[in-house]
Amino acid sequence: MERKELLQVKGLETTFFTEDGAIPAVDNIDFSLREGEILGIVGESGCGKSVTSLSIMGLVPSPPGKVTNGEILLEGTDLAKFSDKEMRKIRGKEVAMIFQEPMTSLNPLFTIGNQLTEAILIHNKKWSKKKAEERAIEMMKLVGLPRSEELLKEYPHQLSGGMRQRVMIAMALVCDPKILIADEPTTALDVTIQAQILQLMRDLNKRLNTAVMLITHDLGVVAETCERVVVMYSGQIVEEGPVDLIFKDPQHPYTKGLIQSVPDMRFKKDRLYSIRGNVPKPGSIKQGCRFAARCEWAHERCLQENPTLYQTGEHHKTRCFLVSGKEAHIDDRAIVESK
């Protein structure tokens, strides 16, 4: 079933202007988020996942960061061209966001009630405080927070990490946004709570039909939660496709490496697999494929030219010369260069 594209990111480029020069943290990325889907964005830290989400929200720390190119189309309107005043009407209402650290993402000096109703009262100027509180309580029940009336008067430090993340989710969804961006929502939580929060996000996605952009470095989370996944490396998209396809048949050496790095309990290994080397500093690789230095299959061409995203399946794209070279050998897959 083909669903309408809610958010289209086209050629997005976000640059940080530092003393060491302009560093493109996000370099010409394209992807889209469809209505009601859960899209995973995966990559190591520093690959530009968070900057991508902050760019969409218009919250890139500025200075030094700035969206320098590209379009962010929300139902056809380009958010990249919006002023901060116009963006304020989008944030929290159309696109909401939850963050990695529920411990520090809630303001310690305001009650849960105050913080939950804040977004409601910003976007619904005519609502009374009482009405906003009723809506907040309704949301708290929806995200599974017990004794919601009392919680309204409590402070974040009185809550556990899992409860705080539930508050964050309630807070993000309180104005019924079309898109929820979740930036590593479970990273700071312990494993049982992680599972609960992911389950909750899946439920809410089904129930409210909110499209979710789930940013994570954890492939397990992606496998469990998402329908499609975008793999990012050093500010670029290296692979994109449906989750089952990517897990079954990863094309890009980086994705392969990532999947291999996930410990598998079925096989006893002395040493876990890891991709050698480190993520390059953004902007440090000017020529060739950015993954070449760490790639087991890198050859001469990879160091000279930057591969583009090749269409390796109907819904599958990969940025690697290997798949462009493989085109003759793979008969069931039409390989077309996307650009």
């Binding site: 919250l59 304020r88 929290g92 650290e101 303001n107 310690p108 976007h123 402070y155 430090h157 807070m171």
Partner: protein
């Protein structure tokens, strides 16, 4: 909370007791004899001895100290050796003058200092930030007497629109009720006098406010810069909140606690240490009162004056500590 306040008030007793003891000894270590000062250089030895005996100064120091403590416990601050009036009666108008001046100065310092700090942090590295911080740096390094004299010279003499000394127009004195002239004139409906009193306040209050204002601005800025980078500020923005409310609601409340500490300390310092400003502007405040008493070796006045100033200082700190727990629900005493 009440138990905490009670405990803090109990802690006051040993602190003040220790303080009276130290002050008592130090002022007696100053060379010079009250009886000699009162009677003058030409007085006979017999007359001086007689006055010493009548003032109780011929007793050993520890006897004098216990007499003083005994009086203090019954609420008697003693009698001025010079004017023979009870210190308790004499003290209040001076204290009121200082309270009025330093509170006005602190209100100025807090309003301007805190806002300058906030705006500097909000627009970090802007021209406002640079200008405010350079002015603040000049402010902290400015000797207060020089600033006072310059203020008098420019606004009092060259431009001639502000009075340079005193609290009131001596030809049209305020009828004191509370001795806080701003309040007295308002109670009595004397708006003409209110304006005059206010005019007298401007220069000394500005001079006195400069250093605390600069310290508060710098403190607010650095505290705000730290808070502005925090996750909850980003959360507030992600809700679509206006930057003004993000800054003045979410960030400021978190940034204000270290600033509050500085405000408390500075208020305490102003109340006790405004002697320079009070001297330059002939302000009849407690600093001048104690300073003059030292000149006359007027032991009871010095002792009681310092005791009151210390008491106020400690009380301000208590209030600041209580404010912490009101602002931050995580701070719990007991």
């Amino acid at each position: 909370m009440l138990r905490y306040i009670g405990r803090r008030l109990l802690q006051l007793i040993p602190v003040l007791l220790g303080m009276t003891f130290i002050v008592f000894l130090i002022i007696r270590a100053i060379p010079g004899d009250p009886a000699q000062v009162i009677l003058g250089q030409q007085a006979t030895k017999e007359a001086v001895a007689a006055l010493r005996a009548s003032l109780g100064l011929d007793n050993p120091w520890y006897i004098q100290y216990f007499h003083y403590l005994g009086d203090l416990i019954t609420g008697d601050l003693g009698e001025s050796m010079r004017t023979k009036t009870p210190v308790a009666d004499e003290l209040w108008p001076y204290l009121a003058a200082t309270l009025e001046l330093s509170l006005c100065a602190m209100i100025l310092a807090v309003i301007i200092g805190v806002n300058a700090g906030i705006i500097s942090a909000w627009f970090q590295n802007s021209w406002f930030d640079y200008a405010a911080m350079i002015i603040a740096l000049i402010g902290v390094s400015m000797p207060i007497f020089w600033l006072g004299l310059m203020g008098q010279w420019i606004f009092g003499i060259q431009l001639d629109f502000l009075p340079t000394s005193g609290r009131e127009d001596p030809r049209n004195p305020v009828n004191p009720i509370t001795s806080l002239y701003l309040i007295d004139t308002l109670i009595q409906g004397r708006f003409d006098q209110f304006i005059v009193v206010l005019q007298h306040l401007i220069l000394p209050a500005l001079a006195l406010a400069t250093i605390p204002m600069a310290i508060i601005a710098r403190m607010t800025r650095s505290s705000m810069l730290e808070v502005m980078r925090s996750d909850y500020v980003r959360t507030a923005r992600s809700k679509g909140q206006k930057m003004f409310f993000v800054v003045y609601k979410h960030a400021l409340k978190n940034a204000i606690i270290p600033v509050l500490t500085v405000i408390g300390l500075q208020t305490g310092l102003l109340l006790g240490g405004a002697i320079l400003t009070e001297t330059i502007f002939s302000w009849p405040g407690i600093g001048r009162y104690i300073y003059d008493a030292i000149g006359f070796r007027d032991y009871p006045v010095i002792q009681s004056g310092i005791l009151i100033v210390a008491f106020i200082f400690i009380m301000i700190n208590l209030v600041v500590d209580i404010l912490y727990s009101i602002i931050d629900p995580r701070i719990k005493y007991n």
